[in-house]
Structure formats: C-alpha cells, structure tokens
Symmetry: C2
Subunit: 233 residues, 2 copies
Amino acid sequence: MSTPSFRNWQSVQDEVLRRINTREWTPGDLIPTEAELAVEFGCARATVNRALREIAKTGILDRKRKAGTRVARNPATKATLNIPIIRQEIEDKGQKYNYSLLNRSIETPPPNITTSMQIPVGSKLLHLIALHTADDRPFAYEDRWINLDAVPSAKNTSFETVSANEWLLMNIPYTGGEISFCATTATEPEAIALDCPFDSALFLTDRLTWNGADAITKLRLVFAPGYQLRTSF
Amino acid sequence: MSTPSFRNWQSVQDEVLRRINTREWTPGDLIPTEAELAVEFGCARATVNRALREIAKTGILDRKRKAGTRVARNPATKATLNIPIIRQEIEDKGQKYNYSLLNRSIETPPPNITTSMQIPVGSKLLHLIALHTADDRPFAYEDRWINLDAVPSAKNTSFETVSANEWLLMNIPYTGGEISFCATTATEPEAIALDCPFDSALFLTDRLTWNGADAITKLRLVFAPGYQLRTSF
DNA sequence: TTGTATATTATGTATGTACATAATAATCTG
DNA sequence: CAGATTATTATGTACATACATAATATACAA
C-alpha cells in the first residue's frame, strides 16, 4: 500500500480516527510518537501535534508527557449543548415569540436561593416571574432571582418588554455558570400559566450564572409539556 | 501603565477575555488584527492566533478571513455534557451498582424505531429491557434496540451480566449520535420497575448511535424520580 | 450604472528550530 | 536495597517564515 499524503492536520486527524475506529489501534494502545507519525505521514511534528491535540480534547485520546499518547479505554461520550435564548429558539422554529412579565418585586429570597447564590442571608434580590409563548401558546415559565449587588442597574429596568435573559446577556458580562436538568410535576401557578394539567410531567432547567465570584442570577425554567432538548455527539 | 508580558497563548487568552469582560471590547466590536496584537503583546502572531482560535471555539469571538475578529453579539451559551456509563455514574457517587436484564428477544420493532434508525421495514432487531440499580434501589429503566446487521456479534451475547451500554462501548466503534432529553410520565412497566407512582414525572433520555451510516443502537433511558443532569459552562 | 477582473488583507495553516515541562527510567549513594 | 539524584524522552509551546484561502475593496470595462 503506497502511503497517501497527509499534509494537513485535518487529514492526519481523519486518518488517526480511522485507525482507532477500525481497531487498528485499540483502546488502551499506545500509539506511535508524534515524531514517528510525522515521518510516516510526511509532515511536520507540529501538524501531527495539532491533530492529536484536537482529538485528545474530545476524550478519545489520552496524552501524557513522556508517557506518550494512548487510545482512551472508555471515552466518556461528550456532547456540546447549545443553550439558546428562548426567543431565538422559538423564532428559529418559525414561530411567533411573545414575552410577558407576570411579577416583579424586590424580596428576601428563600434559603435555598441564598445558599446556592452564596449571598448573605437576609439580602434582597430582584424576583421576576415571566411567561414565554410561542405562537400565543405557553412555552416556558420563568422564575428568576437577580443579585442587585452584582447588577445594580437591574433596579431601574422594568423587564416588561425585554426579557431578563436578553437584557442580562446584552448588558452584564459573565464568566461561567452551572445548569441542571430534571423532570418535575407542575406547581399550581405553573400549571395555570402553562395551561396544562396540574400533575403534568414538565421539563425543568435550573441555571446559575456567575461573574467571577459574584452570582448574577438564578433561574428556574419550566417548559410546557412536550419540550425536548436535543443535541448530537 | 507598563505593558506586562504576554508570552504564552494562555495569558494572551486571559487578557483578551478580560478586555471582553470589562467591556473594553464590547459585543459587535472588531478587535485588532492578530499582527497588531502580536506587536502589542510582544509575542509571535502564531501565539495570538492560538489564543483567539480557542476563544472563537467557545463562541465568544467570531472570526472571518479578511473581515477580521469581532466580539460575538449574543454568544449562545455552550455547555459540554458528559454522558457517562451508568455504572460509573453510580459508583462515582460511592453507591453500589447493579444491573439486571428483564427481557431479551429478537423482534420486529415498531415503526418509529425503524424510521429513526433508518432500517428496512420488517427487519428484526435485538430488543433488550434492563434495570440499573444504585444501592439496590431502582435507578434507570433501559429499553434498547440493537441493529444486528451492524452488530452481528450481539446475537451471541447474553447481556445478563454486562450491560449493553458497556459491552457496546468496549466492542463496537461508533462515529457519532444524537441524544435528546425530555420529561415524561411513567408507563406501567416503568412505574413497576422503578417502584414509583404510575404518573410520576420522570427524566427521559433518548439516544441513537451511529457508526458511519449504520445505526448501531437506539436507547430509551427512563430515570427514577429525582434524577438530575448537571453541567457547568 | 452594472458587472467583471484584480489587488489587498486578515485569518488559516504548514514547517523547522528551539527550548520548556512532566513523567519515566537509569544511576548513584548511603 | 531503599531513597535520592540525574538522564532521557515525549509532549507542550514559542517563534519566524512562508504560503493558502476567503472575503472584501478597488479598478476597470461594457
């Protein structure tokens, strides 16, 4: 078999993945060094490095200095989730988006909120409740707390026309956060707002956003029945 | 202010992120070219390139040849989901894992399965039903179809001691797949196996795995009440 | 004015060299 | 032989240079 040329990192990557996929290199195997592969593929070591580095980021390869590169034994499947703005999610499906604010108040939050946001007990937060609709049908019920110490300008924002989600994204930087998903039965206000039976099974996402050490906002989003979150890997 | 030195791509990345976060560069802004930043930071263009390339992959920067690099207007938040093997997920919590096969048969699947797996109507698949437990309490109910054309060796595997998930991962390569999450109410067999009320709200994941153009397996996993899927971004 | 060819430019990538770093292997020493 | 020291090695990164590529701007022609 004459060696085809692998002169760019994409084709090197493809070839390495092919060898893993065809079990030419099986899980646990130590694969040749970058230098060896560079010679075999007729390219620079940097090119091989780029290809292997990218594969390693997916978890398919494990790399260690001096120890070498080996095929991961049980690569935990990784999928990238896109967390879109609700308006975009709805408009992308060709539906009409609408947003309405149901409640806006400054309150002392329940303890589970103060705990997860790591905020002094007794401090007051902005509490928003809103409904997102798609083609005039309920889509998601939003229950949000905003840390006014971290986002003082929220105090002067009505959030009646622009959703907190969009306003925060446009105006407040963040450095990271946590998100969790689970199933829940509708509470009474949720069932009413989402126009569904009281004990419906609903998809729930819980989100906490940070800017450095400051909690920005904590959000509980309950979706109307039938909602699906999907991605590929 | 004397310019500190940014002589590695990580610190260049940090500095760029800092400027974005402090709104020195605001969403929509065109940032300086790689060459300009290289001069400013006192490093090679390749170093700046690496830093910006990595940031662009998170969606925070948009890059286009000739057009330049700009701060994304509404970076869709991206989170990386880890899809672990159930056994690992349970053992990582320090709980005892157990697996039991409830049913194993070769059947003609319902039309929704053939459609999503893109398999000729009427072909027979291996149908497995199993229960995963944590500390002897029901954890997840598994309903799986395996494409025997793509995985002929599954025909001779009992799946009584090793879960299909682990067996497939160890033995059958895959190139990708799709996964979706939603909330559902328990069906009767699910409620019985999971030992929960008939109309409980349950977290459901649906998974389809491909190897090239061949569907390997389709999986419906229903988790016991209280299950949470979490990640950070 | 409109459409087409050409120049320009910023990012994308490949390469050879050099050195840094982490992990292992080999060696020395008590 | 245990424990510390030193050498070795594979990956990780930085850099200068060169060229590729895509998108834009400009010039030109009909």
